[in-house]
């Protein structure tokens, strides 16, 4: 793990290995999520509002394949960004190697299940049958 920096983030790890790429990916996916996630939150929770969302709202959105693509991109970027951040937190707080392996394994299994469940419903949901 690279050196923690005041104000958030870490210095870029040396070399061109996995940690250096992960560092860059957090910035890249961060910029992408500034668009995808922030728009999604403000549109669904502020412009539309939780009280006005139900099953038919989703049917309406997912009738357009572009919204499915948007939601899939959001799913992939948000989960990979979030779980890499969780990995940083685990490496900071879980110091014993055996325990760290267990906690990381649980996290990765959870991440795999979430991306599978999300991708499954985005691409199999049948608006015609709904």
């Amino acid at each position: 793990m690279s050196e923690r920096r005041e104000g958030g983030g870490h210095n870029r790890p040396a070399g061109t290995g996995f940690e250096s790429k992960a560092w860059f990916f957090m910035r890249l996916s961060g910029v992408v999520l500034l668009g995808l996630a922030v728009f999604h939150l403000y549109w669904m929770h502020f412009a539309i509002g939780v009280d006005n969302i139900d099953f038919q709202t989703v049917v309406g959105r997912w009738s357009n394949p572009l919204w499915r693509l948007y939601d899939f991109a959001l799913l992939v970027f948000a989960l990979s960004h979030g779980f890499n951040g969780l990995r940083y937190a685990i490496e900071d707080y879980v110091r014993r190697p055996g325990r760290r392996l267990v906690v990381k394994s649980i996290a990765y299994v959870a991440g795999f299940l979430l991306i599978s469940a999300g991708a499954y419903i985005i691409f199999t949901f049948d608006v015609g049958a709904a």
């Binding site: 920096r5 104000g7 958030g8 983030g9 910035r27 961060g30 989960l79 999300g118 499954y120």
Partner: protein, 132 residues
């Protein structure tokens, strides 16, 4: 002389490294918080597969008063994490800006409050108005 007994939040944060530490801590806390909501959100969207009745019946969870309060926390978490993350990205892309971190943080805080406070206010007013 007796030992100082005033060891409040301010001195604890100061001991840990001042505003930089506080921002780092908030970035991590909001990141993990938003990730927890994301996990919940994927589960609830997955339930679309069980049909309209099941999905709509479960929506009461998000319309409960405590859920609407959590929604304001979610707005806080995403907005702060986005703005603080944007500052980190800018400072990483243009290393000279590290010399001006305090000024950039001041801009960030003003922008954050300018976006978060009105939207949170409208969210809360909408809920209270809708419930009343």
């Amino acid at each position: 002389m007796s030992q100082p007994t005033n060891v409040g939040l301010r001195s604890w944060i100061g001991y840990r490294g001042g505003s930089g530490y506080l921002l780092w801590l908030l970035h991590r806390a909001t990141g993990l918080g938003v990730l927890m909501f994301l996990a919940l959100h994927i589960v609830d969207i997955f339930l679309l597969g069980f049909g309209e009745d099941v999905f709509n019946k479960l929506l009461f969870l998000y319309r409960a008063p405590w859920a609407r309060a959590m929604e304001v926390f979610l707005l806080f978490g995403v907005t702060f994490h986005a703005m603080n993350g944007l500052r980190i990205i800018i400072q990483d892309a243009f290393p000279r800006t590290w010399l001006h971190q305090r000024r950039l943080v001041a801009v960030e805080v003003v922008l954050f409050l300018a976006v978060f406070l009105p939207v949170a206010w409208i969210m809360v007013a909408d809920f209270l108005g809708g419930a009343g």
